[in-house]
Amino acid sequence: MKKYSGDWYWYYAINSVLVILILFPIYWTFISSVKKPDELITSEPTFYPHTWTWQYYDRIWNYDTDSIRTNTWGETSEDEENNKNKEKESSKIHKTTGSVTQTIGIDDAFTNSAIVSVGTIIFSIIVSTFAGYGLTFFRIPFKEVLFILLITPILVPAISLIIPIYKLLKGLGLTDSYLGLIFLHTTAMLPIGIFMMRNAFSSIPNSLREVALLEGTSELRIIGNVMLPLAIPGLLTVMVFAMYTSWNDYVLAFLFINSPEKTMLNIALAKIALGGSQFEMKWGSLTAGSMISFIPIIIFYTLLQRYFVRGITGSAVKE
């Protein structure tokens, strides 16, 4: 049995407080998404819903935004099916007009975000792996300086570089495209990705590479056959970070994607929330949409969190 020190309950007390602090907003989002409107917008909010409703989920997923705007929330209309069809048509018309509040259904926005996230994960893995490998095993002049230069952008907020980035993307013809956003997310992700992969490779003895080298293995095959199987925790950590960076991004997606049909999930959610009549906040739809947007991150993180934690601590303490 492990012996606990006398202060163990402090550990639990402090951590319980932290857990509550972190989980409370998520809990509040959740209960707000299942409360009926009269409970949701009230001067006496409760910490639990008296009556549950899943209507926001249903609507936000199944209807496009115009239906959200025109529908009276809180009432269950009997002729939903008819409404739905009708309003989908009307939204199509609106789209061609390109009105400011116009956006797409959350299901399409979800797909858009998924495409960009997967793209970011793939690009991040490829670039981080090659950079980390080179920085670990190759003899490059001023390697340490190079490494520090590569990871310093962690300190620079993307928002401060918006104008040059915009000019750059414009020049490349990549504004308002998935690829452009994927590049931006990958770039934002790379300092930490390279750092992670370099640490993952640093824990592998150089002699493994040399053995493979003397047996005539090409550098690419060394990475594929020998190094990556041993750097999987690092690789998965990079994947989680890439997913997190891309899925959670708001500013870049907001600034660089203009076409309504390419709207990212976070932007779509914001537009839904603000899409009602003036000064009206659609709390129910926003919270339900937020809950849906949590799902991929929660699944991804739950599957990989074992490696994620190991990847981070592994990079902090080198064996």
Binding site: P205, S207, L208, E210, V211, A212, L213, L214, E215, G216, T217, S218, V226, P229, L230
Partner: protein, 351 residues
């Protein structure tokens, strides 16, 4: 079979010269040991042969081919590392098969070669295990099997036994010797352990500070060391080296003064192996007296350590002798057992 030639081989790291103008000719099928203390450049020399380091100056030839500019992938040498360097995520079988897969050898032939090699190093029953499930000795055998399975032109070993415990080291040593006899592949072996060097080598290259000091058979290196360093490095316990000077043809130091005549004048170092020193009666002719500092029995002999002014002396005495600590003993040397070294250049003087 291939010979290996190092011609004026030099390797510099910035201002540090790791390998300094080394010339070495290794015959086909020879087992050459590079011996020296850590940092003497022996491992660097081996890595230069493998192509893992770039040559600063000089030439390396494998067979008739100059390999300076040839990629390590194409040199057709294989190497065993001190830490074995097995691929942890592959089974023993796949580890051994790795070189064959890289050479795209048909799988039927692969199977046959793996079986032959694993029989040779007695790994037949362990082929499906992962390296982590093996003992140190078994891992070392896997590393050997992987290195020999494709029959390279040259076989390089970088202190392969130093991670094993003492008993296993002796066993593996004899296995290595047997293996080399069977395969006959030209082998370069790096170690700092002079016993390994003496037992395994067909020739030993003693290195110090990046320089090759002596290159000869183990027996000649033992009997005729060319420098003071070689003399002190080879043999267990090591040769006693006594600093002194020759005045009027006689050797004089703090405690030891010989009576035989030496044709030399000036500072000199006298070397004598521990088993060549006789302990004699006070009354019989002797070359000096020392106090016993400690005595250790090894079972077959007694090792007596004596402290002189600023150096110590080890005497290998008969096992039946018993010299108490702090007792005074009287020593006698014969001239034919003594080696003389120049105090400055450390070269051997034949006097």
């Amino acid at each position: 079979m291939y010979s290996v030639d190092l011609i004026n081989l030099t390797k510099k790291w910035g201002n540090v010269t790791a390998v300094n103008d080394v010339n070495l000719h290794i015959e086909e099928g020879e087992f050459v040991v590079l011996l020296g203390p850590s940092g003497c450049g022996k491992t660097t020399t081996m890595r230069l042969v493998a192509g893992l380091e770039e040559i600063t100056a000089g030439e390396i030839k494998i067979g008739d081919q100059i390999v300076n500019e040839i990629d390590p992938r194409k040199r057709d040498v294989s190497m065993v590392f001190q830490n074995y360097s097995l691929f942890p995520h592959m089974s023993v079988r796949n580890n051994i098969a790795y070189p064959l897969k890289m050479k795209k050898i048909p799988s039927a032939e692969q199977e046959k070669k793996i079986n032959d090699v694993s029989k040779l190093v007695e790994l037949q029953d362990l082929l499906d295990r992962k390296p982590a499930e093996l003992s140190g000795g078994q891992r070392q055998r896997v590393a050997l099997a992987r290195a020999i399975v494709r029959q390279p032109r040259v076989f390089l070993m970088d202190e392969p036994l130093s991670n094993l415990d003492a008993i296993l080291r002796v066993t593996m040593r004899s296995e290595l010797k047997n293996l080399h006899h069977r395969l006959g592949v030209t082998t370069i072996y790096v170690t700092h352990d002079q016993v390994e060097a003496m037992t395994l080598a067909s020739r030993i290259a003693v290195m110090s500070d990046g320089k090759l000091l002596q290159y000869d058979t183990p027996q000649i290196i033992f009997d005729e060391p060319s420098t003071k360093f070689v003399a002190g490095f080879i043999g267990s316990p090591a040769m006693n080296l006594i600093n002194g000077k020759v005045v009027n043809g006689k050797f004089i130091s703090d405690t030891i003064n010989t009576d035989f005549s030496i044709n030399y004048e000036g500072d000199i170092t006298l070397g004598i192996r521990p088993d060549k020193i006789d302990i004699v009666d006070q009354n019989s002719p002797n070359n000096g007296s020392v106090k016993v500092f400690s005595n250790e029995s090894t079972g077959e002999s007694n090792l007596i350590t004596c402290k002189m002014e600023d150096q110590s002396l080890i005497i290998k005495a008969d096992k039946n002798t018993n010299y108490e600590i702090d007792n005074e003993i009287f020593l006698n040397f014969k001239k034919e057992d003594c080696y003389f070294f120049d105090s400055k250049s450390e070269d051997r003087l034949k006097l």
